[in-house]
């Protein structure tokens, strides 16, 4: 994938756990345009390996002098987010991918209901810019633990006015999904980004209320889970790669010099799909892309998040 070199122009500690990074092109030229909901992958060389983590672009898609991302320090981070927090400073250069949008706004929607949980607010930060510019009808529902830990509430108030609805756990204010989704005009689309129980909650509620699947959108990138170490054999490249416990298969393959395709690195887009030629144990499918029957057939795997329960895997790569 061809990467863009950027310089870290500013870093701001937004909440105790969230940092906001501003990237600019080294030569001051404009970055590629993007649409609301897009993400980039940031490549970090650290401790002898390369982390590649996806982050949503925030800010206005019409202003591409700089890109803005926010990173929450994950408790059980495999290193990516902790490294971003501790080792990245202003002036450093990084490599990022071109923006990709896997969370686009539906153009034909009559109304947009956006639901964010915690750091899941980030993709909406660029979408609301698009919605405001288009004069579209929307509501933004933002749930978080406490106002102290919630990022960007003031900016959002400014940008969205009374379209913003906040729910703070510490105030005991809860978002009633059923009430929210059972009284929306026809042609409404709902979008959710946040912790897994929230995403599942929205998907289930919409389904039970009879919303068509095409009107329900979610973005839920998974962090690659750690597991047991195993060997992958790449049949076409004629290579054998050891996947360490704390690395994803995709990362290990990349470290060996092979560059499989990817977009989300979080088990949702399907781009990294590989065919399994042989495996000596069951596959550990962690993605949201393959269907249950595809998972059961053990013929395909998404190397960005999935692993094997066995010791050895042969891939058609």
């Amino acid at each position: 994938m061809n990467m863009i070199d950027v310089r870290v122009a500013a870093i701001e500690q937004v909440t105790p756990l969230i940092k906001h990074f501003k990237f600019v092109k080294e030569d001051g030229s404009k970055l590629p345009p993007f649409s609301g909901g897009s993400h980039i992958v940031v490549a970090l060389d650290a401790e002898g390996r390369t982390y590649r983590n996806p982050y949503s672009l925030m800010g206005s898609p019409t202003e591409t002098d700089a890109y803005h991302i926010s990173v929450r320090r994950q408790e059980n981070s495999r290193g990516g987010s902790a490294y971003m927090h501790e080792n990245i400073s202003v002036g450093m250069t990084l490599k990022i991918t071109h923006p990709v949008n896997l969370f686009t706004l539906a153009k034909m929607a009559h109304k947009h209901v956006l639901i964010a949980g915690g750091i899941g607010i980030t993709p909406f930060m660029s979408q609301i810019e698009d919605l405001n510019r288009l004069g579209a009808e929307y509501e933004l529902h933002y749930a978080f633990r406490s106002y102290k830990q919630a990022a960007f509430v003031e900016e959002l108030q400014k940008a969205c006015g009374n379209k913003l609805h906040c729910y703070s756990d510490s105030d005991g204010k809860r978002l009633d999904m059923d009430a929210l989704l059972s009284n929306q005009p026809l042609g409404t689309h709902v979008y959710v980004c946040g912790p897994s129980p929230m995403v599942v909650g929205v998907l289930e509620t919409a389904k039970n209320l009879g919303w068509p699947d095409s009107n329900v959108h979610n973005e839920q990138f998974l962090a690659p889970p750690v597991g047991e170490s195993f060997k992958v054999q790449l049949a076409k490249s004629n290579l054998e790669v050891q996947v360490p416990a704390e690395m994803s298969m995709l990362e290990a393959i990349e470290a060996a010099g092979v560059q499989p395709e990817y977009l989300c690195r979080g088990g949702v887009c399907g781009r990294c799909e590989l065919s399994v030629l042989e495996s000596d144990g069951g596959l550990e499918h962690n993605d949201h892309f393959l269907t249950e029957s595809e998972k059961a057939s053990c013929k395909k795997i998404m190397p960005c998040v999935s692993r094997t329960k066995g010791k050895r895997l042969v891939l058609d790569l």
């Binding site: 034909m108 009559h110 059972s182 005009p185 026809l186 039970n208 209320l209 919303w211």
Partner: protein, 200 residues
């Protein structure tokens, strides 16, 4: 016609079955389509509110309105013509909420009139359950003069707009709710293949 070959643009119709997950239901039927509505209520009476709009006189002049009155608990509206039904449909759509499920039964022309009427309210035709009853008659769009000849039952028909003899193709346009009609004797005027009724 080639065998074992789907024409992608040609819509597929099914039998109406209630969606279990819904917040309300809207059933639209015309003529013999009233039978499909009755069959729905044979399946069950849904827990959610149901509205039924029925037009009595479609092409075949059958009337299920009396039986429907006995079966549909409330919210049954009977119309003399499909046009009246469509006018009422457009006036109630703005009050509908997400979770509404739409069911249509009638001629193909009626089905796509309904699809066209609800589209501006954000309902995609893919989410409408459709049952073709009454007749296989086709609406035919003349690619030469853009007129639509309604209820065509034959393989070849004279265009109601330009009077060209049109061959009725299988190519269907969802936007127009009609099959494409192409001049059949363009090369050798007056030379026509046999005209047969194939869409009774």
């Amino acid at each position: 016609m080639e065998r074992g070959y789907w024409i992608k643009s040609k819509p597929i119709y099914t039998s109406l079955v209630w969606h279990e997950k819904a917040t309300s239901h809207l059933v639209l039927a015309s003529g013999i389509g009233g039978m499909a509505a009755l069959k729905l209520f044979q399946q069950m009476h849904p827990a959610q509110p149901v509205t039924v709009l029925y037009a009595r006189y479609a092409q075949m002049e059958v009337d299920y309105s009396e039986t429907l009155k006995k079966v549909v608990p409330d919210n049954l509206h009977v119309f003399k013509f499909e046009e009246d039904l469509l006018t009422e449909l457009k006036s109630i759509m703005p009050h509908m909420r997400m979770g509404l499920r739409i069911y249509v039964a009638g001629s193909e022309g009626f089905i796509w009139d309904v699809a066209k009427a609800v589209k501006p309210f954000g309902v995609d035709d893919a989410h409408i359950m459709k049952e073709q009853t009454d007749t296989l008659a086709r609406n035919v769009y003349c690619v030469h003069c853009k007129a639509v000849t309604k209820s065509v039952t034959t393989n070849i028909v004279a265009c109601c707009g330009c009077e060209r003899m049109l061959f009725v193709r299988d190519h269907f346009s969802r936007n127009l709710g009609a099959y494409m009609g192409l001049m059949v004797d363009a090369e050798s005027p007056g030379e026509l293949p046999a005209i047969e009724e194939i869409y009774p």
